[in-house]
Amino acid sequence: MDVAIPRPASEIVTRAVGIGVAVGVYGISFGVLAVASGLSPVQACVMSMLVFTGASQFAFVGVLAGGGGALAAMGPAVMLAVRNAAYGLSLASILPPRLRDRALAAHLVIDETTAMARAQSEPDAARRAFLATGVSVWVFWNAGTLAGALLGGGIGDPSTLGLDAMFPAAFLALLAPQLRRPGAPVAAAAGVVIALALVPFAPAGVPIIAALAGVVPGVLTARGVRG
């Protein structure tokens, strides 16, 4: 059972736009890097529209920028996208019921939309949070990519503004209400330990996927609590 406090719709919109703006700044960075790595502005924009998962896109252009080919760039990009499959499973119950709507909404399954949706206590609020965040992030990410691809360099590093620290803070704020569920603190702690232990050895993306194993001690704890 979810025990998070219900949020009014305006709060959802405020959060969705806030996350979208931060993502948009990274979209600018992505556009700049993509063009610098040899993609055309059209390719950069098509990628942001269709691939629409930031970590994978950064990994893809990172390999190109390092002199790797497009095929070599696929591997890390796919590894970083695998966690979206787990997000999709966790969101399956709150996405729109009609298959066509669900298939369309599935394109928006990413870190930000999962965190926002799962932070809501009611399925209706979760669906609204998912869609509001998905649309906001998609619009800002693509607007940012277009701006970065056309303007090119001359844009500072977003981390000087502390923007890189915004994402973990946002995800923490969205994870906190979920930690009141039985077994959730154990699942979270196990996930963190697994991921950090793997960072030095495993390819990018793998530590976070492997953290999924934290569900097992989480479920066992929840069952133990219930007797």
């Binding site: 709060e11 806030g18 931060a22 098509v46 990628m47 269709l50 691939v51 994978s56 497009a70 095929l71 760039a73 696929m74 796919v78 996208a81 979206n84 499959a85 787990a86 997000y87 999709g88 499973l89 966790s90 969101l91 119950s93 298959l99 669900r102 298939a103 394109h107 399954v109 870190d111 999962t114 000087t160 502390g162 890189d164 620290a165 973990p168 803070a169 946002a170 995800f171 923490l172 704020a173 994870l175 906190a176 979920q178 569920r181 959730a184 699942a187 996930g191 963190v192 991921a195 950090l196 960072v199 030095p200 530590p207 976070i208 953290a211 999924l212 194993a213 934290g214 989480g218 929840a222």
Partner: protein
């Protein structure tokens, strides 16, 4: 070549995102399965938070992101509004980097 890779990545990315909602969506799930799926996002998001905070390629580093997350954690615990949490974390990291 680049276009082919881009379109292939788009297809793979969409297939990964859509597999859960299309296969599991709209089905009646047992309480055990639902309970498990309810927990799926928790360890992933927890891991994402820490990897984004101390990860740097294959290294674990302690830099301005750590105190920023600590400030965020205190504000979350004090039930500060979402945007306050996020902006305070950014300001902390930006300030520490400006001073360094």
């Amino acid at each position: 070549m680049t276009w082919a890779a881009l379109l292939a990545l788009s297809l793979v990315s969409y297939a990964l995102k859509a597999s859960g909602p299309v296969l599991a969506g709209g089905r009646r799930l047992g309480p055990g399965v639902r309970q498990t799926l309810d927990l799926v996002a928790v360890p992933l998001l927890a891991a994402l938070i820490l990897v984004q905070t101390v990860g740097d390629g294959h290294r674990l580093v302690l830099d301005a992101r750590v105190p920023a997350l600590a400030v965020a954690a205190i504000l979350v615990w004090r039930r500060a509004p979402f945007l306050v949490v996020v902006l305070a974390a950014a300001a902390t990291a930006a300030l520490l980097r400006a001073l360094a």
